[in-house]
């Protein structure tokens, strides 16, 4: 898998010695015409790419006041320099957030500020040369848009917005990224990132129903396209396909079953993820989000619940209303949209779920806050709910839970290393190195507290850790879904047990409808 060295773990993540240009070779596959054109982007680098790029840049500046403020307001204080996981893992100074921003800022100054137009040498203004464009392509694909740096920036400069804008400009001149654009086009045609069509989805869900029945003796349904269901579950398609994601999906199904609610998955909107956010395209993001609206209307649901997916929850929580609202046709007594963790936690707080926590006793767990959930959303009705609610669920279903070092979790959480459209095989070196800060913190609780597994609530995090854990000497199945643990511990009415657990309800009794 390439000739690079996997970083050595340390007790604390230290600021690495600078290695100039050490990641300048890292660059994802460029999207060919077959992936560009379906999104309305030019198939290949256009001849007048420079003028087109500056033109698009100008458009973005008029549309986004924030972008201009971010480009104007940096005072080079240095607070962000050691905050990026990719810098900490690679030592490449261009992965310092300020340096990444400067790749765009210098072009901004040259074309959009008075001083930069007339005295470029005085203000660090530079032309968008071919070399600069190559740097853009390389280093704006070494930002996972996790926004950790913005937490520490005294001006709140959001590097994610800058990297999204840069990717949007590159898309518009024909230099898009294959991974993201192929996936977005697939959502438009098939309904999900995977390209999983209705019959395959139905077959997969049937198989999962069989598995749950084999395991518990209870018929738990995973309904597809059921009109009139109360809840539409929108979940990342990885939940249907990969491990440990699918264990989480079975966990949601058990919770819905036990809550006695009617729910359904939609084959038309079988994807929570919205990769259009990663490429900074509002138009694409809206088109993807509108699928959810159409599915909700067609199926006549009353509620919208999102599964475990980090950036999906950002799009849902922060943008869904402007993208695809108004949601006046849904039941206003419930949060619109609602996170599966909120749904489960409400039931736990009401005492409506019973657990056998010992089902998770073979593990000692810790929780990885996913960047988009941690820094761009909330859960529940109290500040910090996005940190507390998943942990409350973990503690309700597991006996052994330990947090990692405080500066590496909650709003200071490190990205898994694969977010923001970088979870692709052609960026494996970046992904492995970028995981180092999280791996350092995890290794500490493994060594000191006997942690065996790490919980994630994001499809990207789960896939990323399954892939990079073995590089750091761990097993791929040491990352687990939160609802996998819920699914392990939940006691379903009528469940076959080992005889140790007292099941109070009668065999075959219908589950009680639970008010929330």
């Amino acid at each position: 898998m390439g000739d690079y060295k996997v970083p050595e773990l340390s007790e604390f993540t230290e600021i690495p010695a600078l290695q100039d240009g050490s990641m300048s070779h890292s660059s994802p596959f460029v999207a060919g015409p077959e992936y560009q054109e379906p999104l309305g982007f030019p198939g290949e680098l256009v001849e007048d790419w420079h003028d087109k790029a500056i033109g698009r840049f100008g458009d973005l500046l008029t549309k986004s006041r924030a972008l201009r403020v971010y480009l104007d307001s940096c005072v080079r204080c240095g607070a962000c320099t050691d905050k990026c996981h990719y810098f900490l893992g690679t030592g490449d100074p261009k992965n310092m957030p300020v340096a990444r921003q400067d790749l765009m800022r210098k072009v901004y100054r040259r074309h959009f500020t008075f001083a930069g137009k007339w005295l470029p040498w005085l203000v660090g203004a530079e032309d968008l040369t071919e070399e600069v464009l190559d740097d853009w392509y390389s280093y704006f694909h070494q930002c996972s848009q996790c926004r950790r740096c913005s937490v520490y920036c005294p001006y709140g400069i959001d590097t994610a917005e800058i990297s999204m804008a840069a990717r949007d400009i590159m898309d518009h001149i024909g230099k898009g990224q294959k991974y993201c654009n192929e996936i977005i086009a697939k959502v438009h045609t098939v309904g999900n990132n995977l390209g999983l069509k209705g019959p395959a989805l139905a077959n997969t869900l049937e198989g999962l129903e069989e598995d749950i029945e084999d395991e518990t003796g209870v018929k738990v349904r995973l309904p597809l396209d059921e009109k009139g269901a109360d809840i539409l579950l929108v979940t990342p398609s990885a939940d249907f396909f990969a491990e440990p994601h699918v264990d989480g999906l079975m966990g949601y199904a058990k919770v819905f079953h036990q809550a006695g609610v009617s729910w359904t998955i939609s084959s038309y909107a079988s994807e929570a993820a919205n990769f259009a956010m990663f490429i900074g395209s509002y138009e694409q993001m809206r088109e993807v989000a509108l699928r959810i609206r159409k599915a909700a209307l067609d199926l006549g649901v009353k509620r919208l619940v999102f599964g475990e997916c980090g950036h999906a929850w950002r799009v849902a929580y922060s943008f869904l209303n402007t993208l695809a609202g108004p949601w006046d046709f849904l039941d206003q007594n419930y949060p619109i949209p609602q996170h599966i963790c909120e749904f489960t936690n409400d039931l736990i707080e009401q005492g409506a779920l019973k657990f056998d926590k010992s089902a998770n006793d073979h593990m000692t767990l810790t929780f990885h806050d996913s960047c988009n959930v941690a820094r761009a959303t909330r859960m529940g009705n109290k500040p910090g709910g996005q940190f507390e609610i998943p942990r409350a669920i973990a503690r309700a279903v597991c006996n052994n839970f330990v947090d990692m070092a405080p500066e590496t979790i909650r709003e200071g959480t490190y990205c898994c290393g694969g977010g923001g459209g970088l979870l692709t095989d052609d960026l494996m070196e970046l992904r492995v190195k970028g995981a180092k800060p999280r791996m350092d913190a995890l290794n500490q609780v493994v060594q000191n507290d006997g942690v065996t597994h790490m919980i994630a609530i994001c499809a990207i995090c789960k896939s990323q850790f399954s892939k990079v854990f073995p590089e750091y000497g761990m097993e791929m199945d040491q990352v687990v879904s939160l609802h996998q643990l819920v699914g392990n511990a939940i006691i379903l009415d009528g469940q076959e047990t080992d005889g140790e657990i007292n099941d109070e309800t009668e065999d075959g009794a219908a589950p009680a409808e639970t008010e929330e």
Binding site: K197, P236, A238, F241, D426
Partner: protein, 110 residues
Amino acid sequence: MAYQLNGTTFEADEEGYIKDISQWSRELAELIAEDENITMGDDHWEVVNFLRQYYEEYQIAPAIRVLTKAVKKSMGPEKGNSKYLYELFPYGPAKQACKIAGLPKPTGCI
């Protein structure tokens, strides 16, 4: 990139997934596997054949659980788990086995 077999060129994408899935043959599969440092044994073939059969019906590779279940049925419970599948295809049964089976790469958060 491209594969050369008996004087014929088979076009593939940057990662070695063949572009025209109808061009697939057992010989080509063995060549792709060789590129991946895999020697095809009976168990590898069993998986590859199942993938192709599933693809024919559903136009996508099977989910990992569907695959492990099928393997369990045909090869027994000690082999019907993702650990064993990763032994056969160290870079992942979904991606690496798909490449050898001549199927498109599954995309997304996987």
